[in-house]
Amino acid sequence: MSAVLVIFYVLAGLAVLGAVTLILQSHPIHSALSLILVMVSLAGLYLLMGAEFVAAVQIIVYGGAVMVLFVFVIMLLNAGEEEHTSFSKLARFAGIPLALALAGMIAAAIARSSAHLPAPAMSGALTSTKRLSMLLFSEFVYPFELTSFLILVAIVGAIVLAQREGN
């Protein structure tokens, strides 16, 4: 059993652990922290696959910006323990089994059908990043530009929604 595989298992375990705790934690803050755990471990996995740039972005944008935003909002609304209502009979009785069933189906299908794929080739970091930027500004320039508008929309939206009454 190679070291790489060990690392994989460790990181994967951490990721799953994080996801599970996200579910089990009853306070939003804890859930947020466990989500950060997932993200970080995923970043690790990206590195393991040799996608350094993505790993970096994952840490910076996700782990940094987005999650901070989350935590900030949680603080702002000082959301406490979530109350364990279950008005939804459906979710209460059918929800979890169904969700698990779905996950099972997807996992099974993927496991059955993706065995033939070759293992990730750890390409050199720089080259991969270079290719990345090439793609981004040549082939995918259109979506790339669109994302700028997307962010603009987000900003406008945020302003509209968050701005106080009687601006």
């Binding site: 996995l45 997807i106 990345l132």
Partner: protein, 100 residues
Amino acid sequence: MVPTNYYLILSAILFGLGVLAFVFKRNIITIFMSIELMLNAVNLAFVAFSQARGQSDGEVFVLFVIVVAAAEAAVGLGIIILTARNRRSLNVERVDLLKL
């Protein structure tokens, strides 16, 4: 060497856990987190595939997804704040004025 489908299965599991979290959690913010979790699972799949195929497209997609996620986060949290302001609760189950 780690076979690609390990990564894929992991992503499937994470995605499933995200779905589970969505139906399991009550706090709107946490539910939103579970969505982020699902997106992360997707990213993992993307990266795994692109690496497996020796392409970089997948990683580009990941970048896009991250950006979109960020944008969604901005708007989503705005909406959440709005709701929290309108009704003093973050419990999604208490947001059920519109029904039937």
